[in-house]
């Protein structure tokens, strides 16, 4: 851990009496891109601001590049941040914006502008040097904001939902650019987003947050395939979460209508069963080992067809490769799934988490 670029050691932050984040512990290695992911209000921005030094922790320790910076103000930490609104200074032109940080740190003017110019070149912005931020497009503003942050060669580069002000097409392109840049220059990045696909696309690791705590962290694949809770399962892509109980027997198992799923959990445990839509497929006739149901609605989505199926365990979402015709409403079907693709999660922790949280 000692060579981690950033370490959070059970950090908490309280605003007045409101505990925004608590007991946050994680580490970010050098050259790694880590995303903070979670629903609105879960404390992602707060964690990022704690890293930046814009908030001071009320508990715990923050270490950047081996130095305890828990009480060091933002202006003296070697980080840089790209803001959601970009926060370009409207009264300075592009190059003045980029040189600002260098000048603030007392670099001489000629050298600061020279470095800023090189940074702009690197990002393909050389032609915009003398424009005011109001005279360039949203995507260009975003890149200027990145240039302004990068020119300082920070130990950790922070992004707070940098794509939320761009349109959908541009978003995909810019996130690829950010990832390329990070790999090319070997940057250490913490990236906040509430968009699961964005997080999965660019991250080495994702930290999922909920109610001011870390719900789970791991590689995108880990989180998708082995979610530790129904919340994470649901947040990382589409999932059907069905409540059930482990039944006693020779081997304990969970039964969903005709579908029987073996498990190691003790009989009587309340569990959530996670069924991904793309793992399930529809049999035209309800056979043994399937969940019987009736099609309520089918939607044609181009590459895929998506069905909402009413079953004894609730309405389930199933997606299949699109066939020539959609199944009609009311068609009886059986839902089959490979038990290897099913996640069974004991529910206790989850319930305890919600119960302990004053926000509910």
């Amino acid at each position: 851990m000692s060579d981690s670029a950033l370490i959070f050691d059970s950090v908490g932050k309280t605003f007045g009496r409101f505990e925004a984040v608590r007991d946050i512990a994680f580490a970010v290695e050098t050259h790694e891109l880590v995303s903070l992911l979670g629903p609105s209000g879960c404390g992602k921005t707060t964690v990022l601001r704690l890293i930046a030094g814009l908030e001071m922790p009320t508990r715990g320790r923050i270490v950047i590049a081996g130095k305890d910076v828990s009480r060091v103000p933002a202006s003296e930490r070697n980080i840089a941040m790209v803001f959601q609104s970009y926060a370009l200074f409207p009264h300075m032109n592009v190059i003045e914006n980029v040189a600002y940080g260098l000048l603030a740190q007392r670099m001489n003017k000629a050298e600061a502008f020279e470095r800023a110019r090189r940074q702009l070149d690197l990002l393909g912005l050389a032609a915009l040097e003398t424009r005011l931020p109001s005279a360039i497009s949203g995507g260009q503003q975003q890149r200027v904001a990145v240039a302004r942050a990068l020119v300082l060669e920070p130990d950790v580069l922070l992004f707070d939902e940098p794509l939320s002000n761009l349109d959908a097409k541009l978003r995909r392109q810019v996130r690829e650019e950010i990832r390329d840049l990070q790999q090319r220059l070997g940057l250490t990045v913490v990236y906040v987003t509430h968009d699961q696909s964005e997080a999965m696309a660019i991250s080495d690791r994702v930290i999922v947050m909920r109610h001011g705590r870390i719900a789970q962290s791991g590689t995108p694949r880990d989180l998708y395939e082995r979610p530790a809770s129904a919340f994470v399962a649901d947040f990382m892509g589409d999932a059907n979460v069905v409540g059930a109980e482990v039944l006693p027997g020779a081997t304990p198992l969970v039964r969903l209508d005709g579908l029987e799923l073996p498990t190691d959990l003790a009989p009587g445990t309340a569990v959530d069963v996670v069924l991904r839509p793309e793992h399930m497929h529809l049999d035209r006739a309800a056979g043994a080992g399937t969940i019987a149901g009736k099609v309520r609605r089918g939607s044609y989505l181009g590459a895929l067809a998506e069905y909402r199926v009413d079953t004894a365990v609730g309405a389930l979402l199933v997606s299949e490769a699109a066939t020539a015709t959609l199944l009609a409403e009311g068609t009886p079907v059986g839902i089959a799934i490979d038990p290897a693709n099913v996640r069974i999660i004991a529910r206790s922790d989850e319930a305890a988490l919600s119960a302990a949280d004053p926000r509910f």
């Binding site: 009480r71 103000p73 202006s75 009264h91 600002y100 940080g101 005011l132 931020p133 949203g138 503003q141």
Partner: protein, 680 residues
């Protein structure tokens, strides 16, 4: 004073020992740097600072040569004590930061501690002195009797005038006058605002300009013009006598005259407030009402009027407060009619001088004024401002119904005509040889006031006005940027930092806005005439009075601007490695220039035109333009008084125009800011 802290404590002056001890302790504790040590440092340094003030305050007995070092012989604070005080406060701020206040931001903590100290010493402390003066027992030694004398007197609460008697108490006079002025100004202000925003006419532009004229005019100058028009030898009076044989009378002297002068002088204030509210009413709301088949009058009554009600209330309360505080017009036009503000004046300078009774009047005036101010604050807080959407929604404002339109035009025109007459009179009056008798034009008045002779040893400033004019310009120029800076820095603190007691701090800072000038003047006389802070008769006291009284305007303007400025701009600057000083200078100041300009303009104009604040504080050495003019008026030297006023008005217009020019340039840039935020 002579002898520094070290010398005094070495020579055994007991009063200085605690300070020396505190300084030493703070120094040692600062070396330790733990949180606990910081708490002790805080206590020690604040204790030391309080001791500096209190030990000074214990002084006051005549110098006793027997015991040269006794506490009672403490002189007023000199430079050494001032520097010590500042140093102790600075140490306290540092300790606060080390305690983790404002996330350990040293800059913010210093700002908070020093501005709180300014508020405490120059606003709170003087008010407490007034209260203390009121609480002084009567000659008989009884406190209750003293209080009764000061608060229950007939000259305060008498209601004789209702029963056919001659006079009512000053409290009633002030209240009635304030309410009448508030109502009239709000009504005319509303009419003028509707006229300029909802009625298309070639007069709209000129009307706006004319409405702004009184803002740069010392208030009593309007009263002066009224005397020239309607006084016993006024031009209108004499004309009426010649033509209709109406005998000249003194009707203008009394409540009517004061009311008329204040209404003319304060309507622009009401106009500006209502105008701002009116333009923020989105036309689409009115359009919606008319598509719902509401008649024009109904739309106005049920949609527009309720939407601008906060603006109307605000205008009423502001002009009410200003009317209460006005001293000039009651002095010039009051005759036997006394209000609280002029009452205080006569209790201090008159034959019946009595500081206790003056303090009593000041307390009553302060309470009424603060109550109105509180109402205003609460009102504004609970009715959030009208639909401010930022997106320019198109659409047309509803047309006004014909009778309403007629009323508005009539009212605005009458008012405009009056204003023009008043200013015409002022300009003519300054050039007339002897108003009422001899209207031949002359420059004598100006020459009297502003004569310059080329003497043997260079220029001689022979005009009588030069002394007060020079002081006024110099001190107002000095005070204006200080005032604006203090107000804006406080706004920065309140808008951008979290700390306990922030709301209280904001309220305390705003409060001095509601303190009538005469009350401040009296309070300063009581507070700063004796040690620890002895500054009456200096230029310093004038500057301080302006700064603490006018700082709220910078605060208000600043708060409004900060709420429109994305906080991530400051945060971006911080994460880029800039300290708070650099951020303020390179990011916030350029973006806040309009607020800076407004605050500076206001502070300058307010301190040049005020009479009530300075009248007790001026000295022969530091005389003020307004007090000098009032002196001329008292000697019925109207011509010279008016000429001097004209010079002031023209000068203020030039200054405002100059600053506006800078402001215009900034507004061009502000457009860019808005645009970039939209695309962002």
């Amino acid at each position: 004073m002579n002898g520094g802290l070290l010398g005094l404590s070495l020579s055994g002056l007991a009063a200085t020992l605690p300070v020396a001890a505190a300084a030493l302790a703070a120094f040692l504790l600062t070396l330790r740097g733990t949180r606990g040590a910081a708490l002790v440092t805080l206590a020690v340094t604040l204790g030391g600072a309080v001791w500096v003030l209190v030990s000074g305050g214990l002084a006051g007995t005549p110098y006793d040569a027997e015991a040269p070092l006794s506490l009672a012989n403490q002189p007023a604070m000199g430079w050494g004590a001032t520097i010590t005080l500042i140093a102790l406060l600075g140490l306290a701020a540092g300790a606060l930061a080390r305690r983790g206040a404002m996330d350990g931001d040293a800059f913010g903590n210093h700002l908070l501690v020093f501005s709180s100290a300014v508020l405490a010493i120059f606003v709170l402390f003087p008010v407490v002195q007034v209260l203390q003066e009121v609480m002084r027992p009567a000659a008989s030694g009884s406190l209750a009797e003293g209080l009764a004398e000061r608060f229950l007197g007939k000259d305060l609460w008498g209601l004789d005038c209702l029963a056919g008697g001659k006079r009512c108490g000053m409290v009633w006079n002030s209240l009635w006058l304030g309410i009448a002025v508030g109502l009239a100004t709000t009504l005319i202000g509303l009419a003028a605002a509707l006229f300029t925003t909802r009625i298309r006419s070639p007069f709209t532009g000129p009307a706006r300009l004319v409405t702004l004229l009184p803002l740069v005019t010392p208030p009593f100058v309007v009263g002066l013009a009224l005397i020239l028009l309607f006084g016993r030898s006024g031009s209108v009076t004499l004309f009426m006598y010649d033509v209709f044989d109406i005998r000249p009378s003194r009707w203008i002297y009394g409540p009517q005259g004061v009311w008329l002068a204040q209404t003319l002088g304060l309507t622009p204030l009401a106009f500006m407030v209502i105008h701002a509210t009116l333009v923020s009413v989105s036309p689409s709301v009115e359009e919606a009402a008319s598509t719902l088949r509401a008649s024009r009058w109904r739309t106005f009554r049920t949609v527009t009027l309720p939407l601008i009600r906060p603006g109307l209330a605000n205008a009423f309360l502001l002009t009410f407060i200003e009317s209460l505080a006005d001293l000039g017009n009651p002095l010039v036009l009051g005759g036997g009619f006394r209000v609280l503000a002029s009452g205080i004046y006569f209790k201090i300078v008159g034959a019946q001088a009595d500081l206790g009774e003056a303090a009593g009047l000041a307390v009553v005036l302060l309470v009424i004024s603060l109550a109105a101010f509180l109402l205003q604050v609460l009102w504004l807080r609970n009715t959030s401002f009208v639909t401010v959407t930022g997106k320019g929604d198109g659409g047309q404002h509803a047309r006004l119904s014909v009778p309403l339109k007629t009323g508005i035009i009539a009212l605005t025109l009458v008012w405009g005509a009056l204003i023009l007459t008043v200013y015409g009179t002022i300009i003519l009056g300054s050039f007339a040889t002897l108003w009422g008798r001899d209207y031949s034009l002359t420059l004598a008045n100006y020459v009297d006031a502003f004569n310059v002779i080329a003497g043997e040893h260079g220029l001689v400033w022979a005009g009588g006005a030069w002394n007060s004019f020079g002081t006024t310009m110099m001190l107002a120029t000095l005070a204006a940027p200080l005032t604006a800076a203090l107000g804006l820095l406080m706004a920065y603190l309140i808008a951008r930092r979290r700390f306990t007691g922030r709301r209280t701090f904001e309220f305390a800072a705003m409060m001095s806005f509601a303190m009538p000038g005469t009350v401040i003047g009296l309070a300063y006389v009581l507070a700063f005439n004796t040690p620890p802070i002895e500054i009456t008769g200096t230029a310093f006291i004038l500057v301080i009075a302006f700064v603490s009284r006018n700082m709220p305007i910078g605060l208000r303007v600043g708060l409004a601007q900060f709420s429109q400025l994305d906080p991530s701009l400051d945060e971006a600057s911080t994460t880029l490695g800039a300290g708070p000083g650099t951020t303020l200078r390179r990011v916030l100041f350029p973006l806040l220039k309009p607020a800076v300009a407004t605050a500076v303009i206001y502070a300058f104009v307010a301190s040049v035109t005020t009479l009530s604040q300075v009248i007790f504080l001026v000295s022969p050495r530091y005389d003020w333009a307004t007090t000098y003019i009032i002196g001329l008026v008292e000697n019925t030297n109207y011509g010279r008084a008016i000429a001097y006023s004209v010079v002031l008005i023209v000068l203020l217009i030039l200054v405002v125009a100059l600053l506006q020019l800078i402001l215009r340039r900034v507004e061009f840039r502000r457009l860019d800011t808005n645009k970039s935020r939209e695309t962002a």
